[in-house]
Amino acid sequence: MQVDDVDRRILRQMLAAPDAARAELAERAGVTAASLWRRIERLREGGVIRGEEAVIDWRALGWAVEVSLRFTLEKAHPRAFDEFLEAARAVPEVIEIQTFLGLTDVRLNVIARDMAHYQEIYRARILTLPHIAEMDALMLISTLKDSEALPL
Protein backbone atom coordinates (compact mmCIF):
# COMPACT_ATOMS: atom_id res chain seq x y z
CA MET A 1 0.00 0.00 0.00
CA GLN A 2 1.22 3.51 -0.89
CA VAL A 3 1.67 5.94 2.00
CA ASP A 4 2.18 9.56 1.00
CA ASP A 5 3.43 12.62 2.90
CA VAL A 6 -0.07 13.65 4.00
CA ASP A 7 -0.66 10.15 5.44
CA ARG A 8 2.64 10.40 7.27
CA ARG A 9 1.68 13.80 8.65
CA ILE A 10 -1.61 12.38 9.94
CA LEU A 11 0.12 9.37 11.52
CA ARG A 12 2.68 11.65 13.16
CA GLN A 13 -0.11 13.69 14.74
CA MET A 14 -1.97 10.56 15.84
CA LEU A 15 1.22 9.18 17.41
CA ALA A 16 1.93 12.47 19.16
CA ALA A 17 -1.60 12.74 20.59
CA PRO A 18 -3.39 9.36 20.52
CA ASP A 19 -6.26 10.72 22.65
CA ALA A 20 -6.93 13.79 20.50
CA ALA A 21 -10.35 14.19 18.88
CA ARG A 22 -10.51 13.73 15.11
CA ALA A 23 -11.38 17.40 14.53
CA GLU A 24 -8.26 18.48 16.39
CA LEU A 25 -6.10 15.98 14.50
CA ALA A 26 -7.41 17.28 11.19
CA GLU A 27 -6.49 20.83 12.14
CA ARG A 28 -2.99 19.85 13.30
CA ALA A 29 -2.33 17.81 10.18
CA GLY A 30 -3.66 20.64 8.00
CA VAL A 31 -6.39 18.60 6.28
CA THR A 32 -10.18 18.79 6.30
CA ALA A 33 -12.10 16.54 8.69
CA ALA A 34 -13.59 14.62 5.75
CA SER A 35 -10.19 14.01 4.22
CA LEU A 36 -8.81 12.88 7.59
CA TRP A 37 -11.62 10.31 7.97
CA ARG A 38 -11.09 9.02 4.47
CA ARG A 39 -7.35 8.67 4.89
CA ILE A 40 -7.59 6.99 8.31
CA GLU A 41 -10.15 4.56 6.88
CA ARG A 42 -7.82 3.82 3.97
CA LEU A 43 -4.83 3.30 6.29
CA ARG A 44 -6.92 0.92 8.39
CA GLU A 45 -8.12 -1.06 5.40
CA GLY A 46 -4.57 -1.22 4.04
CA GLY A 47 -3.37 -2.57 7.37
CA VAL A 48 -0.96 0.30 8.07
CA ILE A 49 -3.06 1.19 11.12
CA ARG A 50 -3.56 -2.12 12.88
CA GLY A 51 -5.74 -0.67 15.59
CA GLU A 52 -6.09 1.63 18.53
CA GLU A 53 -5.78 -0.10 21.88
CA ALA A 54 -6.53 1.16 25.36
CA VAL A 55 -3.45 1.05 27.55
CA ILE A 56 -4.14 -0.72 30.84
CA ASP A 57 -2.02 0.39 33.78
CA TRP A 58 -1.57 -2.88 35.65
CA ARG A 59 0.05 -1.11 38.59
CA ALA A 60 -3.17 0.85 39.13
CA LEU A 61 -4.93 -2.53 39.38
CA GLY A 62 -2.52 -3.74 42.04
CA TRP A 63 -0.12 -5.68 39.79
CA ALA A 64 3.01 -4.06 41.18
CA VAL A 65 5.66 -6.45 39.85
CA GLU A 66 6.73 -6.72 36.21
CA VAL A 67 9.50 -9.04 35.07
CA SER A 68 11.04 -9.56 31.67
CA LEU A 69 11.94 -13.25 31.34
CA ARG A 70 14.32 -14.21 28.54
CA PHE A 71 14.56 -17.78 27.37
CA THR A 72 16.85 -19.88 25.28
CA LEU A 73 14.99 -22.95 24.06
CA GLU A 74 16.13 -26.51 23.30
CA LYS A 75 16.15 -25.98 19.57
CA ALA A 76 17.04 -29.59 18.81
CA HIS A 77 13.37 -30.33 19.40
CA PRO A 78 11.49 -29.47 16.17
CA ARG A 79 8.33 -28.21 17.89
CA ALA A 80 10.12 -26.44 20.76
CA PHE A 81 9.01 -22.94 19.72
CA ASP A 82 5.40 -23.86 19.00
CA GLU A 83 4.93 -25.84 22.17
CA PHE A 84 6.63 -23.25 24.33
CA LEU A 85 4.55 -20.38 22.87
CA GLU A 86 1.33 -22.31 23.15
CA ALA A 87 1.98 -23.03 26.83
CA ALA A 88 3.07 -19.43 27.50
CA ARG A 89 -0.18 -18.10 25.98
CA ALA A 90 -2.12 -20.13 28.53
CA VAL A 91 -0.53 -18.24 31.45
CA PRO A 92 -2.80 -15.25 32.17
CA GLU A 93 -0.03 -13.26 33.87
CA VAL A 94 1.96 -13.19 30.61
CA ILE A 95 1.11 -9.85 28.97
CA GLU A 96 3.63 -9.78 26.11
CA ILE A 97 5.39 -12.42 24.02
CA GLN A 98 8.24 -11.71 21.60
CA THR A 99 10.44 -14.02 19.60
CA PHE A 100 13.99 -13.16 18.56
CA LEU A 101 16.97 -13.92 16.44
CA GLY A 102 19.98 -13.76 18.76
CA LEU A 103 21.13 -15.07 22.11
CA THR A 104 17.57 -14.93 23.38
CA ASP A 105 14.85 -16.95 21.62
CA VAL A 106 11.74 -15.76 23.43
CA ARG A 107 10.91 -13.05 25.88
CA LEU A 108 7.86 -13.02 28.15
CA ASN A 109 6.60 -10.05 30.09
CA VAL A 110 5.09 -11.37 33.31
CA ILE A 111 3.17 -9.38 35.91
CA ALA A 112 2.38 -10.27 39.52
CA ARG A 113 0.69 -8.64 42.51
CA ASP A 114 3.83 -8.74 44.68
CA MET A 115 7.08 -10.68 45.01
CA ALA A 116 5.46 -13.60 46.82
CA HIS A 117 2.88 -13.87 44.06
CA TYR A 118 5.63 -13.63 41.44
CA GLN A 119 7.49 -16.47 43.15
CA GLU A 120 4.32 -18.54 42.96
CA ILE A 121 3.77 -17.87 39.24
CA TYR A 122 7.45 -18.43 38.53
CA ARG A 123 7.51 -21.86 40.14
CA ALA A 124 4.09 -23.12 39.11
CA ARG A 125 3.65 -21.62 35.63
CA ILE A 126 7.02 -20.49 34.24
CA LEU A 127 9.53 -23.16 35.25
CA THR A 128 7.05 -25.75 34.02
CA LEU A 129 6.99 -24.34 30.45
CA PRO A 130 8.33 -26.88 27.94
CA HIS A 131 11.77 -26.93 26.25
CA ILE A 132 13.57 -24.30 28.36
CA ALA A 133 17.35 -24.58 27.97
CA GLU A 134 18.31 -21.37 29.77
CA MET A 135 16.60 -18.32 31.15
CA ASP A 136 17.29 -15.07 32.90
CA ALA A 137 15.16 -12.39 34.45
CA LEU A 138 15.20 -8.60 34.32
CA MET A 139 13.05 -6.97 36.98
CA LEU A 140 11.43 -3.74 35.82
CA ILE A 141 12.28 -0.74 37.98
CA SER A 142 10.72 1.96 35.82
CA THR A 143 9.61 2.65 32.28
CA LEU A 144 11.14 5.93 31.10
CA LYS A 145 9.79 5.93 27.57
CA ASP A 146 7.13 3.82 25.90
CA SER A 147 5.73 4.89 22.57
CA GLU A 148 4.83 3.39 19.26
CA ALA A 149 6.34 6.47 17.66
CA LEU A 150 8.22 5.90 14.43
CA PRO A 151 10.62 8.53 13.10
CA LEU A 152 8.34 9.15 10.09
Binding site: A54, L61, E96, G102, M139, S142
Partner: protein, 152 residues
Protein backbone atom coordinates in the same frame (compact mmCIF):
# COMPACT_ATOMS: atom_id res chain seq x y z
CA UNK B 1 -7.33 0.45 45.07
CA UNK B 2 -10.24 0.23 42.62
CA UNK B 3 -12.41 -2.90 42.82
CA UNK B 4 -13.54 -4.38 39.51
CA UNK B 5 -16.60 -6.47 38.79
CA UNK B 6 -17.04 -8.78 35.81
CA UNK B 7 -18.56 -6.03 33.67
CA UNK B 8 -15.59 -3.72 34.34
CA UNK B 9 -13.23 -6.50 33.34
CA UNK B 10 -15.21 -7.16 30.17
CA UNK B 11 -15.08 -3.44 29.31
CA UNK B 12 -11.30 -3.33 29.86
CA UNK B 13 -10.91 -6.40 27.71
CA UNK B 14 -12.96 -4.85 24.90
CA UNK B 15 -11.16 -1.48 25.05
CA UNK B 16 -7.73 -3.15 25.11
CA UNK B 17 -8.66 -4.67 21.75
CA UNK B 18 -10.37 -1.56 20.34
CA UNK B 19 -10.09 1.78 22.13
CA UNK B 20 -12.41 3.48 19.65
CA UNK B 21 -15.49 1.73 21.10
CA UNK B 22 -17.79 4.39 22.55
CA UNK B 23 -20.16 4.13 25.49
CA UNK B 24 -23.03 3.27 23.12
CA UNK B 25 -21.22 0.32 21.57
CA UNK B 26 -19.92 -0.92 24.94
CA UNK B 27 -23.41 -0.64 26.43
CA UNK B 28 -24.97 -2.65 23.61
CA UNK B 29 -22.32 -5.32 23.91
CA UNK B 30 -22.59 -5.75 27.67
CA UNK B 31 -26.27 -4.98 28.24
CA UNK B 32 -25.84 -1.54 29.81
CA UNK B 33 -27.46 1.77 29.05
CA UNK B 34 -25.15 4.25 27.34
CA UNK B 35 -24.87 6.50 30.45
CA UNK B 36 -24.12 3.46 32.64
CA UNK B 37 -21.34 2.33 30.28
CA UNK B 38 -20.00 5.88 30.15
CA UNK B 39 -19.90 6.08 33.96
CA UNK B 40 -17.95 2.83 34.17
CA UNK B 41 -15.38 3.98 31.59
CA UNK B 42 -15.06 7.33 33.39
CA UNK B 43 -14.44 5.56 36.69
CA UNK B 44 -11.74 3.35 35.16
CA UNK B 45 -10.09 6.43 33.66
CA UNK B 46 -10.20 8.34 36.93
CA UNK B 47 -8.63 5.40 38.80
CA UNK B 48 -5.77 5.46 36.28
CA UNK B 49 -6.54 1.91 35.07
CA UNK B 50 -7.29 3.18 31.57
CA UNK B 51 -4.08 5.07 30.90
CA UNK B 52 -4.70 6.41 27.42
CA UNK B 53 -4.61 5.02 23.91
CA UNK B 54 -1.94 3.39 21.84
CA UNK B 55 -1.94 3.57 18.06
CA UNK B 56 -0.70 0.28 16.66
CA UNK B 57 1.01 0.68 13.30
CA UNK B 58 2.46 -1.84 10.90
CA UNK B 59 6.05 -0.61 11.15
CA UNK B 60 7.03 -2.76 8.18
CA UNK B 61 4.46 -1.11 5.89
CA UNK B 62 5.88 2.28 6.86
CA UNK B 63 9.40 1.25 5.93
CA UNK B 64 10.68 0.19 9.34
CA UNK B 65 11.55 -3.43 8.72
CA UNK B 66 13.78 -4.06 11.72
CA UNK B 67 13.03 -3.97 15.45
CA UNK B 68 15.87 -4.74 17.84
CA UNK B 69 15.87 -5.14 21.60
CA UNK B 70 19.04 -4.02 23.30
CA UNK B 71 20.26 -4.87 26.78
CA UNK B 72 22.70 -2.24 27.98
CA UNK B 73 25.03 -2.30 30.95
CA UNK B 74 26.58 0.96 32.04
CA UNK B 75 30.37 0.96 32.35
CA UNK B 76 30.45 3.48 35.16
CA UNK B 77 27.78 3.52 37.86
CA UNK B 78 26.70 6.53 39.80
CA UNK B 79 23.85 8.97 39.98
CA UNK B 80 25.32 11.31 37.38
CA UNK B 81 25.96 8.61 34.78
CA UNK B 82 22.41 7.20 35.09
CA UNK B 83 20.92 10.67 34.66
CA UNK B 84 23.10 11.54 31.68
CA UNK B 85 22.40 8.24 29.99
CA UNK B 86 18.65 8.42 30.58
CA UNK B 87 18.38 11.95 29.25
CA UNK B 88 20.36 11.20 26.11
CA UNK B 89 18.77 7.84 25.28
CA UNK B 90 15.19 9.14 25.47
CA UNK B 91 15.99 11.81 22.89
CA UNK B 92 16.86 9.26 20.18
CA UNK B 93 13.86 9.08 17.79
CA UNK B 94 14.52 5.45 16.81
CA UNK B 95 14.30 4.35 20.46
CA UNK B 96 10.67 3.51 21.25
CA UNK B 97 11.04 1.99 24.70
CA UNK B 98 13.48 2.67 27.54
CA UNK B 99 13.20 0.66 30.73
CA UNK B 100 15.40 0.75 33.80
CA UNK B 101 15.80 -2.88 34.92
CA UNK B 102 17.54 -4.95 37.56
CA UNK B 103 19.48 -8.00 36.45
CA UNK B 104 22.15 -8.72 33.89
CA UNK B 105 21.58 -5.33 32.29
CA UNK B 106 20.75 -1.87 33.56
CA UNK B 107 18.49 -0.82 30.67
CA UNK B 108 16.29 -2.40 28.05
CA UNK B 109 15.71 -0.54 24.80
CA UNK B 110 13.43 -1.19 21.87
CA UNK B 111 14.84 0.30 18.69
CA UNK B 112 13.26 0.56 15.23
CA UNK B 113 15.22 0.94 12.00
CA UNK B 114 14.57 0.79 8.26
CA UNK B 115 16.87 -2.20 7.73
CA UNK B 116 19.96 -3.81 9.21
CA UNK B 117 22.26 -1.17 7.66
CA UNK B 118 20.11 1.57 9.19
CA UNK B 119 20.19 -0.25 12.53
CA UNK B 120 23.99 -0.36 12.37
CA UNK B 121 24.02 3.40 11.83
CA UNK B 122 21.74 3.97 14.85
CA UNK B 123 23.81 1.59 16.98
CA UNK B 124 27.17 3.13 16.08
CA UNK B 125 26.28 6.78 15.91
CA UNK B 126 23.60 7.06 18.55
CA UNK B 127 23.68 4.15 21.00
CA UNK B 128 27.40 3.38 21.32
CA UNK B 129 28.11 7.08 21.79
CA UNK B 130 25.72 7.40 24.75
CA UNK B 131 27.42 8.52 27.98
CA UNK B 132 28.56 5.62 30.16
CA UNK B 133 27.61 2.77 27.83
CA UNK B 134 29.35 -0.51 28.56
CA UNK B 135 28.27 -3.94 27.38
CA UNK B 136 25.47 -4.17 24.78
CA UNK B 137 23.47 -7.24 23.76
CA UNK B 138 21.22 -7.11 20.70
CA UNK B 139 18.35 -9.41 19.74
CA UNK B 140 16.47 -8.88 16.48
CA UNK B 141 12.73 -9.22 17.01
CA UNK B 142 10.91 -11.72 14.80
CA UNK B 143 7.39 -11.51 16.20
CA UNK B 144 5.46 -9.75 18.91
CA UNK B 145 2.07 -10.31 20.47
CA UNK B 146 0.25 -8.55 23.29
CA UNK B 147 -1.90 -10.73 25.52
CA UNK B 148 -5.09 -9.66 27.31
CA UNK B 149 -3.50 -10.25 30.72
CA UNK B 150 -5.12 -11.46 33.94
CA UNK B 151 -8.56 -9.89 33.45
CA UNK B 152 -10.36 -13.07 34.46
Amino acid sequence: MIALDDTDRAILHALAADATLGAGALGRRFGLSQPAAWRRVKRLEEAGVLAGRRLVLDAQALGFGVTVFLGIKLAIKGRISFEDFERAVQAIPEVQVVQHVLGRFDYRLKVVARDIADFERVLRRRIMTLPGVGQIEANVMLSEERRPGPLG
